[in-house]
């Protein structure tokens, strides 16, 4: 086959990159003083720039691309290693869990915006639908919690489906306008709704799977780990599942049809594509991701309020997608880490984060519109490996 004639590159460079990333994360998350954090950020920026010019990044990219499965496993191991290193530090572990939740949410938005081109300005609201579903169901019913997480996604998907239907026939960005309206209405609705706790919000029950209470610290022999480790394990599993599904979708006719709809609706229609079908599919699946992430997050946080689901939060989510690169799933992962972790650790920025992110998004759109990690061309590589077995 001509497309496999090129020599497969070694796994070593990407493995080294993951190891470097893990070590860096440990130092970054352990860093206490603002000066150390600033130094680490500056150092990372310089090293990445230098590596780019020395073409080291290209080598790493090729290596990761040719060894996708091994690379993904290495990254998962890396996350576990970082979490275990901070096994008794609830602050850091909660932060890691939060990043994973946001990655899942942004994968959903990436399916909507990156694949089929539907702009969703209500990402945080659909996330909130999942949160409130979980809060209400854990408090008032005995539904198993795994089912609740699933129902959170289902509620978000259903609501998104309903608000998208009226605008499907329109072209352009009317769907985006409707999502803006939904985002604004959603928060107001929560604030005036007493059954849902009004502005004070609701308590959410802790995750409990098969009798294992996730809010209890983990004790195995002499090992005593913070309870957040359990949450990290669960969200990591959900994320892996979500990632595999999105990846499969990308490497299939569904992803191909979505690309066509995004790029040129008229030509797509002339070749038999149903435009609404793919828009609905992507929007619904994306919101399902948001809802699942939200339901899980509510259980991990234990307490939710309308202020978590503002229009501003939705914009942050979208900026992550743009920053990472439209349609690029690994880009989403990297961008989420940058956008969520940096303001948390580098507190000086906390106040100016909106300003900073808007500047960052504008800079990306001007100088690197394909995002930090541009989406690779569809190679059907997951299909080829599945057929070899």
């Amino acid at each position: 086959m001509s497309e496999s004639s090129r020599k497969r590159s070694s796994f070593l460079p990407s493995l080294l990159a993951v190891l470097a990333g893990v070590v860096y994360m440990v130092f970054f998350l352990a860093g206490e003083s603002q000066m150390v954090i600033f130094g680490l950020l500056l150092g990372a920026g310089l090293v990445v720039t230098a590596f780019k010019y020395l073409r080291v990044l290209d080598v790493v990219g090729e290596s990761a691309k040719d060894n996708q499965r091994a690379f993904s496993i290495a990254v998962v191991m890396g996350v576990l290693a970082v979490s275990l290193y901070f096994y008794d530090d609830p602050f850091v572990l909660f932060l890691v869990g939060t990043v994973l939740v946001y990655v899942l949410t942004c994968l959903g938005l990436n399916i909507q915006f990156g694949f089929v081109g539907v702009l969703n300005f209500a990402g945080a609201s659909f996330f909130g639908v999942g949160c409130y579903t979980a809060a209400v169901l854990t408090k008032n019913t005995a539904v198993p919690h795994l089912v609740i997480i699933f129902l959170g996604g289902l509620m978000a998907a259903l609501l998104g489906f309903l608000i998208l239907i009226p605008v499907l026939k329109t072209r352009g960005h009317y769907a985006a306008l409707v999502t803006i309206a939904f985002a604004l209405l959603f928060k107001t609705f929560l604030e005036v709704n007493d059954t849902l706790g009004g502005p004070q919000g609701l308590k959410c029950g802790a995750l409990n799977l098969f009798g294992w209470d996730f809010n209890r610290d983990i004790v195995i022999g002499s090992f005593e780990g913070c309870f957040y480790l359990g949450y990290i394990a669960v969200i990591l599993l959900l994320l892996i599942l979500g990632f595999i599904m999105a990846r499969r979708m990308e490497d299939s006719w569904v992803g191909l049809n979505m690309d066509a709809v995004r790029l040129d609706e008229t030509v797509s229609a002339c070749f038999g594509q149903s435009i609404p079908r793919w828009k609905i599919t992507a929007f619904t699946i994306g919101n399902f991701y948001c809802g699942v992430a939200g339901a899980f997050y509510a259980m991990m946080l234990g307490y939710i309020a309308p202020t978590n689901f503002t229009f501003g939060d939705s914009l942050i989510l979208l900026s992550i997608v743009i920053l990472g690169g439209l349609g690029s799933m690994w880009g989403t992962v990297v961008a989420t880490i940058i956008v969520i972790l940096i303001p948390e650790k580098f507190q000086v920025l906390q106040e100016y984060r909106f300003l900073l992110f808007s500047a960052l998004v504008i800079a990306i759109l001007l100088f690197r519109p394909q995002g930090l990690l541009p989406r690779p061309l569809r190679s059907y590589i997951t299909l080829k490996s599945s057929s070899n077995r």
């Binding site: 001509s2 979708m249 299939s252 229609a269 002339c270 057929s387």
Partner: protein
């Protein structure tokens, strides 16, 4: 009339107060190549857009294989067996050659969500089938492109893009192929190579009817079995290239009246 594939009667199209097509009558014979000639703005591309369902008709009737397809959606027209290319080559530029050609075969793909996500082995089999089909098709036009199936289209020169666009239209085995100015943006030599390709493929496919819009008269002379001339949205003449070239009204339309 067994051998009429596409039959247009009294077709009219207005854009607000602007009339693009007036009472157009046209019968397209099966298995022939029809050339559509006319000055700029005479309604040629509008005709394609109305037939393929991009614009709704204002009046008149379009029949394909005896079936009324007037005001069908583009999707339904495609499924009936009509494929087209566009005046300004409209490929999906960021996608690969393979992806672009595959998209032309939409109705043959299994597009179900469950199938695509969970029946990966069956999908892989379908993928290999389509890939080989695409490769065989593009090899007829340009063997070099067949080796570059997984390169993005955006880097390719115009002639390659035109070839890919024609492959995208042909892969679904349409009965009617609409070519909208395939020579636009190409040199004379490239145009002739493309025309050779089209004639070559026309020989290979048994049941293929072609309507071609073109300004290059030498192209029309070589490729068409017969021609129709439009002016201000009306058909002013129909016949073989030789006949219409010597027609006085046609010459006036092109050169203007003294």
């Amino acid at each position: 009339m067994q051998n009429v594939l596409l039959s247009i009667s009294k077709l009219g199209k207005n854009f607000g107060g602007v009339t693009a097509l007036v009472d157009l009558d046209l019968d397209v014979a099966r298995n022939r190549i029809l050339g559509l000639i006319g000055p700029n703005g005479s309604g040629k591309t509008t005709f394609f857009n109305v037939v393929t369902g991009i614009y709704p008709t204002t009046s008149g009737k379009v029949a394909f294989e005896g079936e009324d397809i007037t005001n069908f959606s583009p999707q339904k027209v495609y499924r009936a067996g009509v494929a087209r290319t566009f005046q300004r080559s409209r490929l999906f530029l960021p996608l690969s050659i393979m992806d672009n050609i595959t998209l032309g075969d939409h109705s043959q793909l299994n597009n179900g969500l469950f199938f695509n996500l969970f029946r990966r082995r069956a999908l892989a089999a379908q993928y290999r089938e389509i890939r080989d089909k695409s490769r065989d098709l593009i090899t007829i036009f340009d063997p070099d492109l067949a080796d570059r199936l997984f390169e993005p289209v955006v880097n390719l020169p115009m002639i390659s893009r035109r070839r890919i666009e024609i492959c995208r239209a042909l892969i679904s085995n349409p009965k009617l192929l609409l070519l909208d100015e395939p020579s636009a943006g190409m040199t004379h030599e490239e145009t002739f190579r493309l025309i050779d390709d089209i004639l070559h493929i026309k020989d290979k496919i048994e049941d293929l009817t072609v309507i071609i819009i073109e300004h290059e008269m030498s192209v029309m002379e070589r490729i068409t079995d017969y021609c129709a001339v439009l002016n201000f949205g009306q058909k002013i003449c129909e016949g073989t290239y030789r006949e219409i070239a010597s027609d006085e009204e046609v010459q006036q339309a092109y050169l203007g009246v003294d």
